[in-house]
Symmetry: C2
Subunit: 200 residues, 2 copies
């Protein structure tokens, strides 16, 4: 089977949320699995000398308009969190911890976090909220809270972010299709075309 | 007839060049004309606190890769100018000067400048080169050189850039379809869908 499509994202990325609703289906249409790779956008923006998107003059206003429009286009519920952006450390840590034991549950948790952040305006950066979202998946609250505080789990997220940077990930979402890089939810049509045609 | 699609661009924007090859056809498919509006990206980037795209870590490398890939996708010749970016003042001034007298010629000159910059690696910021490109259109070299040095023509480009900023243009290319803003060559499919559907 061909290599999975890599889906890199930050939990506080609106376009990452929108891509999370589409990427598995796009990959599946072409017989591909996906690998979900949360990372932190903060250090990437810092390296680039960039402020968060919504804080950049002109671009920020456009982005606010476009987040909502991009969501409407795919019929997805969306609301910009009242506190935005935040560093999605806790969900990223929980994701990698869980993924080692059960990848499907990790992905289900990721979806729940995205929904909490971008639909329900809950604080997805709060470990207690992440633990609450994980409970329906059969994850013990205390076990998760202990896990996300462990140095080796923190290290996983640092390593993922370092890997993203080393591989040229310049924003969220970011995709690799057989090594080919694509940045942005609005490039999903190119991801699909690359899968279809093998590249151009 | 419905309002024309507005096409805002900087003459040293690779994505602006790629959009210039497509926008008229896209608009025409939906019974729309286009209005071409060159402006200067420099002051917009400055207001945003942004460096030129290719100078931003991570993003710059991605952009270089993506310029070429985006060109291949539409079968367009492309090469990044050896001196890049530059302020496309002279061609923008020549464009507005010419557009007052003959819009079709102004557009033909714009196409010639884009080709000179992004295919032939010529200095599209040099008034002498712009004059040379205008000659086949029946424009006197000296008349053009005098025009682009006139204060009222310089003012036109300043005013266009100020208008772009006031209307939220955050990059190049930028489109307005019945007032709806779209940023980026990779959003042309959304421009087309908006024209098709009247919006979503």
């Amino acid at each position: 089977m061909a290599a999975p499509v890599e889906f890199w994202f930050d939990f506080y990325s609106p376009y990452g949320y929108l891509a999370s609703l589409q990427i598995d289906e796009i990959a599946a249409r072409h017989g591909r699995a996906t690998v979900w790779r949360p990372f932190l956008l903060g250090p990437i923006f810092q390296r680039q000398g960039l402020a968060p998107l919504v804080e950049i003059p002109l671009l920020g206003d456009y982005a606010r308009h476009d987040f909502a429009r991009s969501a409407r286009l795919i019929g997805a519920p969306f609301r910009l969190p009242s506190a935005f952006p935040k560093a999605g450390l806790a969900p990223a840590r929980a994701f990698y911890w869980l993924a080692e034991r059960d990848e499907a549950k990790a992905r289900a948790l990721a979806r729940a976090v995205f929904r909490a952040v971008f639909v329900e305006d809950r604080d997805g950066a709060d470990p207690a909220v992440v633990a609450e979202l994980a409970a329906p998946l059969g994850i013990e609250r205390d076990e998760l809270l202990a896990a996300v505080a462990r140095p080796e789990i923190k290290e996983r997220v640092k390593a993922a972010t370092a890997e993203a940077m080393a591989r040229g990930v310049c924003g969220s979402p970011f995709f690799f299709v057989d090594g080919e890089p694509f940045w942005g939810n609005d490039r999903l049509w190119q991801v699909e075309r690359w899968l279809e045609t093998g590249g151009w």
